[in-house]
């Protein structure tokens, strides 16, 4: 029975040759990369990769002028403010995801809004960090297109646009 499992000497020798042949093929094809690595030089430019990753983790801003076009294209408005203030008045069509309660609400939100849905977050305008912080959370959760409307509710209101009251249906 053991002879079924143990390799013969010839098989072991052939295996060794196989490894040597493949390894030398790989080495000759990647000669410059390996030599660079062994001479202590960096093969990859690290800082560039790091900045690319940083850019991916933060939401990008969107201006009032771009807003209507994006909303027409199916972007979803998300209100990052307190739910009571949201109930008083919010941008037409916005749904509520308060930053303060994101830990409790994120699972439900995530189940309701697909991760490839483009989102536009807002709060109380310039100087309000909540929508940006919420954006970071949503990107970490796996949302692929998250933007922040920095003008927020004040700019929208001052432009004379429609506000709604009540809770999310």
């Amino acid at each position: 029975m053991s002879s079924l499992f143990l390799p013969s000497g010839r098989v072991m020798l052939e295996a060794l040759v196989l490894v040597l042949v493949a390894a030398s093929a790989g080495l000759s094809l990647n000669y410059s990369m390996v030599m660079k690595a062994f001479s202590g030089r960096n093969v990859v430019a690290v800082p560039q990769a790091a900045t690319q990753r940083a850019a991916l983790q933060f939401p990008m801003p969107v201006d009032y002028e771009e807003l209507d076009q994006l909303l027409a294209a199916g972007h979803l408005l998300v209100d990052a403010r307190d739910p009571n203030i949201y109930a008083d008045s919010h941008l037409a069509g916005a749904i509520s995801l308060p930053l303060a309660e994101v830990d409790q609400l994120l699972a439900e939100f995530s189940a309701r809004v697909p991760h490839d849905k483009p989102l536009i977050l807002y709060c109380n305008g310039f100087g309000c960090p909540d929508s940006f912080d919420l954006g970071v959370r949503l990107i970490a959760e796996g949302y692929l297109q998250v933007q922040v409307y920095e003008g927020g509710l004040p700019e929208w209101r001052d432009r004379g646009r429609q506000l709604e009251s009540g809770v999310t249906p």
Binding site: L18, A22, M33, V34
Partner: protein, 146 residues
Amino acid sequence: MKQSLYHLCRLSLAGVFIYAGYLKGSDPVAFAGQVAAYQILPYAFNYLVAATLPFVELLCGVLLLLNQRVRPALLVLFGLNTVFMLALFSLVLRGLEVDCGCFQPAGEEGTGTSPQMALLRDAGLMLAILAAWVLRQQHAKEPLDG
């Protein structure tokens, strides 16, 4: 029956390792990054592994596909898979959540395979390797069988 099981194991292993070897071999620098994420080898040796390992996988896969030198190829894959499983197990022990680097070298963040899943998959590959080995050995002992 035994013969079709043997060919099934042989061909699926061939597919898996040709695929893995091709993907990693076409982007050795990215693959070296994934080997480095295991934090086992010193800096430059990650590149040595990245330069050679995909070609060993590729050659073994091709030999299995052609049904040539099957036992040496299986023996090498057995050795490789043992090393993979030890490395993955060390990730689990150290609590490192890195992408296993089994197939896609330049995968997007968060799409990789967790060490636990990769271990499970490697255990499956190990079964296929052992099955193919035993069936091939039996086959060699009964040459009249075809």
